[in-house]
Amino acid sequence: DTAVSQTPKYLVTQMGNDKSIKCEQNLGHDTMYWYKQDSKKFLKIMFSYNNKELIINETVPNRFSPKSPDKAHLNLHINSLELGDSAVYFCASSLHPQETQYFGPGTRLLVL
C-alpha cells in the first residue's frame, strides 16, 4: 500500500552511462515532482508535471529528461552521467500543484 514508490532504491554506475529512475504514486494525485538532494542535504526541485504536462523545469541540464506516461507515473532518464550527478533523487506527488507533497523513499545514485 505504498503511496509513492521509486525504483531502484540504489543505483551505482559508471560515468558516461545512461540510467533511468521510475516513480509511481497510487494516491490519485494530479501533480508529480522530481527533487535532488545533494551531499550537503539541500533538497532542490528539478521538474514538476501536472496532468502529464511539464509545469516546472528548474535550470536542469538537458541530460536529464523526465517522462510522464500517465498521471500516476513520472520517470527520470539521465544521459551521460557525471560524477556531480551523485545524489539522492526523490519523487513526490500532490493532489494539485499548490497542495501538500508526499515524498517517495528516494533513489541513491552513485556515479563512479
Partner: protein
C-alpha cells in the same frame, strides 16, 4: 538574493524539554510555509503548513509560528521524546503562479534521554 536559512545545523536537547527550530528567509514573499520531517534514508514527511495571514498553527505537540515582518518561522516540539530525533526542513512557496516549493537545509534535532 533569495535565501532560506535554518540557523542551526544541529540541535541537541534533553528529553521532556521544548525544542525550538528557526527558519528565516530573505527576499521572498511566501504564500505559505511548511515544515517537514526527514529521517535518515527516507523521504521528507509533511508536518504543518502555515499561511501568510496566520500567526500560529498547532498539531498535537507541534506548534508553528509565522512572522512575516521578521521574515521568520519558529517550529516548536513540546515535551520532546527521543523518537522526535530527525532532520526538520522548512519550505516556502512564493505567491504567484506555478512556483516551486523551496527548502531550507534543515536542522538535525537530537533528543537525548
Amino acid at each position: 538574493s533569495q535565501k532560506i536559512e535554518q540557523n542551526s545545523e544541529a540541535l541537541n536537547i534533553q528529553e521532556g524539554k521544548t525544542a525550538t527550530l528557526t527558519c528565516n528567509y530573505t527576499n521572498y514573499s511566501p504564500a505559505y510555509l511548511q515544515w517537514y520531517r526527514q529521517d535518515p534514508g527516507r523521504g521528507p514527511v509533511f508536518l504543518l503548513l502555515i499561511r501568510e495571514n496566520e500567526k500560529e498553527k498547532r498539531k498535537e505537540r507541534l506548534k508553528v509560528t509565522f512572522d512575516t515582518t521578521l521574515k521568520q518561522s519558529l517550529f516548536h516540539i513540546t515535551a520532546s521524546q527521543p523518537a522526535d530525533s530527525a532532520t526538520y526542513l522548512c519550505a516556502l512557496r512564493k505567491r504567484a503562479g506555478n512556483t516551486p516549493l523551496v527548502f531550507g537545509k534543515g536542522t538535525r534535532l537530537s533528543v537525548i534521554a
